[in-house]
């Protein structure tokens, strides 16, 4: 473990490299049975973070975590259970996906000014055993909402896993 390669910030200039068509659409936007998971990334002053990147990993609706390629070329591929969303100028991220059978989205957060990745989870509303503060809210139009606060009074709970 002492030989682990350290992380570094994603910096400001990643979009042209890491964003790709359909990156945040694990299923096509508006598809039957799909749901939008979205939110805003904020800094410690409550300001939006327009240069963050959020990735999610999840099971399918039946609770199976897919082990299939095709995330980078979504057309014609099945459900891969992985997606990426770069925040826009308002700090907004969004995914079109399905509600996972295993009751949370595993989440990684990157940003300019953030020197290493952060891990957290987003639980479905009503999930049993959810970590306090990490439950998405259901909006009137059915979308799932979860804001990420890098710092401040509403700071998101971030994780440390064994062996990391």
């Amino acid at each position: 473990m002492t030989e682990t390669t350290p992380g570094q910030t994603i910096g400001p200039f990643f979009h042209h490299a890491l964003a790709f068509p359909g990156d945040s659409e694990l299923v096509p936007f508006g598809a039957a049975g799909s749901v939008v998971l979205h939110g805003y990334v904020h800094d410690g002053a409550g300001e939006p973070v327009p240069d963050a990147m959020i990735e999610i990993r999840q099971s399918d609706a039946s609770g199976v975590v897919p082990r299939a390629g095709g995330s980078l070329r979504r057309r014609g591929a099945g459900f891969t259970g992985w997606g990426r969303s770069c925040t826009d100028g308002a700090g907004h991220y969004w995914f079109s996906t399905v509600e996972p059978g295993l009751p949370f989205f595993a989440v990684t957060v990157f940003a300019r000014g953030l020197l290493d990745r952060l891990f957290t989870r987003i639980y479905l509303p009503g999930a049993e055993g959810a970590v306090d503060g990490l439950v998405a809210s259901r909006e009137a139009d059915g979308r799932l909402r979860f804001d990420i606060h890098l710092q401040g009074p509403s700071e998101t709970v971030f994780f440390k896993f064994p062996r990391t």
């Binding site: 350290p6 042209h16 490299a17 299939a68 095709g70 953030l114 020197l115 971030f158």
Partner: protein, 245 residues
């Protein structure tokens, strides 16, 4: 209120006099943009479960072989010093990470990104996007052909320059092994001045971000070769806690 390099270097030295750490400090004021973007609470210790135990999978339908050569993506030859960077991606137990995605991005030889947010008045190179992808092979090897990136100025403090670097994005076999980092070049005098690199306060750990020049990878009258291996954190799926009995 813009600090001088000397002020930044003194701040770095003061922090580094404390306990050296192998992972970057998230609360690292010499990199000014960290101020409002680092969590202040201790992370919560959790055991990975479900989707956290499985990294996303990528395959030949995701990546074309040509994406590993950043010198042939446009009509002509990019300007600069042609290089090849090769190495292995290993997990925390020394096992190769096989058939997994590696993504890179970098500035051109003049220190300019082909990103609309980059305002550095250095020339863009119409033959260079600075973006590459590949899959590791069955022994965990990746290989990119590119152009040596130039250093570039940034606005962290007065006369601030980033050392030449290539951004790397990596996946392991577990979701928890996700890594984004930067590879540096040997002998770069800017490394010691750079608050992003120096946020890794253990010099031995920072050294793991520096590629080595490898003459055996250079090609006669063609390019210079570098070797850089990447070690991810340990995986959980195959890890058994040592038992007490």
């Amino acid at each position: 209120m813009t600090s001088s390099q000397q002020e930044i270097s003194e701040e770095i030295a003061k922090i580094q006099a404390d306990s050296p750490r192998g992972a970057p400090l998230l609360d690292f004021a010499p990199y000014r943009s960290t101020t409002l973007r680092h969590p202040t609470k201790e992370p919560r210790h959790v055991d990975p479960e479900g989707a956290e135990l499985l990294a996303p999978v990528f395959g030949n339908s995701d990546v074309a072989a040509v994406e590993a050569d950043l010198t042939v993506q446009r009509g002509g030859e990019p300007i600069g010093e042609r290089i090849r960077v090769q190495g292995r991606v290993l997990d925390g137990d020394g096992r190769p990470v096989r058939r997994q995605l590696v993504e890179i991005w970098q500035a051109n030889a003049a220190g300019r990104y082909s990103h609309q947010g980059d305002q550095h008045p250095a020339p863009l190179d119409p033959n260079f996007t600075g973006v590459g992808r590949c899959l590791t092979d069955d022994d965990g090897w990746y290989s990119f052909t590119s152009i040596k990136p130039g250093p570039y100025p940034w606005r962290n403090h007065h006369n601030a320059w980033r050392p030449a670097h290539i951004h790397f994005s990596l996946f392991g076999t577990d979701f928890t092994q996700r890594l984004i980092t930067q590879m540096y070049f040997p002998g770069d005098q800017l490394l010691a001045l750079d608050p992003i690199a120096q946020s890794i306060t253990d010099p031995a750990a920072l050294a793991r971000l520096i590629a080595s020049y490898d003459h055996s990878r250079s090609e006669h009258e063609w390019l210079l070769g570098y070797r850089w291996d990447i070690v991810l954190t340990g995986s959980h799926a195959t890890y058994l806690e040592p038992s007490d009995d």
